[in-house]
């Protein structure tokens, strides 16, 4: 059973409860209720399909931030073996908002770098809701250099509301830390795969997102500003405005695919990743393996020139000539 649900998930949860109850009630006489149960389950499936094929930008935003949505540590656990967490930026401190380390992915060692939001209230507070400080980005940088040195591919997972806006963060150079990562990732001499698993919040997300492949889970979002932030600025009415903003910002996986920013949308189990977290990890593992195999075939020069071209192309404009 799901622990938390969103408003638009309510009819599904109610129907699931009904099915649960019927199952319990029918324990003595399963044959008698079989038909009824089957028709209820079909109905549930239809309803799920209907709701999930017509999601609004705001509903997808809510799913991307769903408290039960699998976090980075879940994927590390279910897609990798032998994870060894590595801490610290060797300069100031360790930032728990960034999870980093080495693990085996289908046998081969990889470097993992991810935003970790936290799975419950306690962990969320500890992880600062996945909002890194500069030392988090500098830890990421250090681990990417480590990956380059020992020729291991890098897997990054994006799930953050954004870089933390605080006094210490500014004093220690939040902008510099993000900027340096962007410049360094472009020329890192090892394959980089980036997956947006939940919320991709602006520069704080991009700072670990300059990859050879950028993948997005079906119900994740990636945006230059949060719908709330955008609404507060442009529509003033933050409550009503956030829904309009979520639509206007074109922040869903389908939007980003259309805009040519991402390489692949990773299908989620029906009802979203939080309904079948292990299933989601299985699907993602296959997709990542496929891309990793492609990248491993390339030599360094090809890899780097394709990566440069990928970001060089981004954006739309009209060139009316002249020098």
């Amino acid at each position: 059973m799901v622990k938390h649900y969103l408003e638009f998930e309510k009819p599904l949860v109610e129907m699931e409860r009904e099915i649960e109850n019927l199952k319990r009630f029918s324990r003595g006489n399963p044959l008698y209720f079989r038909e009824q149960l089957k028709s209820l389950e079909e109905k549930l499936h239809r309803l799920q399909k209907e709701i999930f094929s017509n999601l609004t930008g705001w509903q997808i935003t809510q799913l991307a931030r769903h408290i039960d949505r699998p976090k980075a540590s879940h994927y590390v656990q279910w897609m990798c073996e032998g994870f060894v967490e590595l801490h610290g930026d060797r300069n100031y401190g360790d930032d728990p908002a960034i999870l980093g380390g080495m693990a085996r992915f289908n046998g081969r060692p990889v470097t993992i770098i991810a935003h970790q939001k936290g799975a419950d209230a306690k962990e969320m507070a500890y992880r600062n809701f996945g909002m890194p400080h500069p030392e988090g980005y500098r830890k990421a940088l250090r681990l990417m250099k480590l990956a380059e040195l020992f020729k291991k591919p890098v897997l990054t997972m994006i799930d953050t509301p954004g870089a933390f806006p605080g006094v210490g963060a500014e004093e220690r150079g939040q902008a510099e830390a993000i900027a340096r990562n962007l410049r360094m990732m472009v020329v890192l001499r090892t394959p980089i795969i980036t997956v947006v698993i939940g919320e991709g919040g602006s520069g704080g997300a991009l700072a670990i997102g300059v990859g050879d492949r950028i993948l997005m889970l079906e119900h994740s979002i990636y945006s230059v500003i949060s719908p709330e932030g955008c609404a507060a600025i442009l529509w003033k009415d933050g409550e009503k405005g956030k829904e309009v903003a979520a639509e206007s910002l074109k922040l869903t996986a389908a939007d980003l695919s259309r805009l040519g920013v991402i390489d692949e949308i990773v299908k989620e189990p029906l009802g979203g990743a939080h309904r079948d977290a292990e299933g989601m990890a299985r699907i993602l593992k296959e997709v990542v393996e496929r891309h990793l195999k492609e990248l491993e075939k390339m030599d360094e020069e090809e890899l780097l020139s394709l990566r440069y071209e990928k970001f060089r192309r981004m954006g739309t404009f009209i060139d009316d000539g002249g020098t």
Partner: protein, 281 residues
């Protein structure tokens, strides 16, 4: 932080009774009312407190480039409307307004010039164009500028003045941070010097890419420089911000910029740095 202009703020400004608006200017820093001509003659710097006002791109060129040496590039790059973005106005009509206001097609002017004889590729953000926000055109023009610098082996100087990303271009605006940083990575590998000059204000996505990637980072006195906006930080931490927070002098104290240079000394400082930094051939 993202570029914006709140309608409310605009209204407040409009309602303020300022009959002699064209003749007098209020200093953003010391609040002194000063005769506009005095400020203009003083390179847009407050004579009382040395606050460096924003300066139109063309005047910036006049301030640093040797007379007659500036050649503009990519004048005719024009933004599209990839998101079909509309709030109270459509994005294309906001662009048009800014074009009429500034006489430029978008928020950055790029070209080559000489500074005390030193050849340089220079980019200048025009803050009056949608807050100097980083849209696709800005990203492309800066990228081309850097690629030309690599081709011609001449140093790059970018004068930043920006509120950050351009919301109306959504994720494509964010990706301009990666795109320009990629070009700067190439410049770095080619060992060609890049000097960024941070002017008031340099925040958000521009600070977290172009601005902070200078081999040498210069700030103008009292310029506001930061990633997150002070209002957002205040709301997040629910505490007062330290005195002078996110100002150039504060960043210098925290080791985030190399030096603060007054506008009148900028030309000479840039020229001598360019000359000393470049590889001996």
């Amino acid at each position: 932080m993202t570029w914006f202009k709140k309608d409310e703020e605009q209204k407040e400004k409009r309602e303020e009774p300022k009959p002699s608006d064209h003749l007098w200017v209020k200093c953003n820093s010391c609040n002194e009312i000063i005769y506009r001509k005095v400020i203009e003659r003083n390179l847009q710097v407050c004579p009382k407190c040395n606050y460096h006002f924003q300066i139109p791109a063309q005047r910036r060129i006049d301030c640093v480039a040797d007379p007659g040496t500036f050649i503009e590039y990519d004048v005719n790059l024009i933004s599209t409307d990839p998101l079909e973005f509309k709030d109270s106005k459509r994005y294309p009509s906001r662009v048009k307004e800014s074009q009429e206001k500034t006489g430029h097609k978008d928020a950055v002017i790029c070209g080559e010039a000489r500074i005390e004889g030193q050849p340089a590729m220079i980019g200048i953000f025009e803050f009056n164009f949608m807050g100097g926000s980083l849209g696709s055109v800005v990203g492309e023009k800066i990228t081309r500028l850097i690629e030309r610098a690599i081709e011609k082996k001449s140093g790059v100087i970018i004068f930043c003045a920006s509120g950050g990303a351009r919301m109306q271009e959504g994720i494509l605006s964010l990706m301009q941070m990666a795109k320009t940083s990629a070009a700067l990575a190439k410049l770095h590998e080619a060992r060609i010097p890049y000097i960024s000059v941070l002017t008031d204000p340099t925040t958000g996505g521009v600070s977290a890419s172009i601005a902070m990637l200078g081999d040498v980072i210069i700030a103008e006195p009292k310029a506001m420089i930061g990633f997150a906006g002070p209002r957002v930080i205040k709301e997040t931490i629910r505490a007062e911000l330290p005195e002078g927070f996110q100002r150039a002098e504060y960043l210098l104290d925290h080791g985030m910029v190399d030096l603060i240079v007054e506008r009148k000394d900028l030309r000479h400082t840039l020229a001598s740095l360019l000359e000393m930094l470049k590889l001996e051939s």
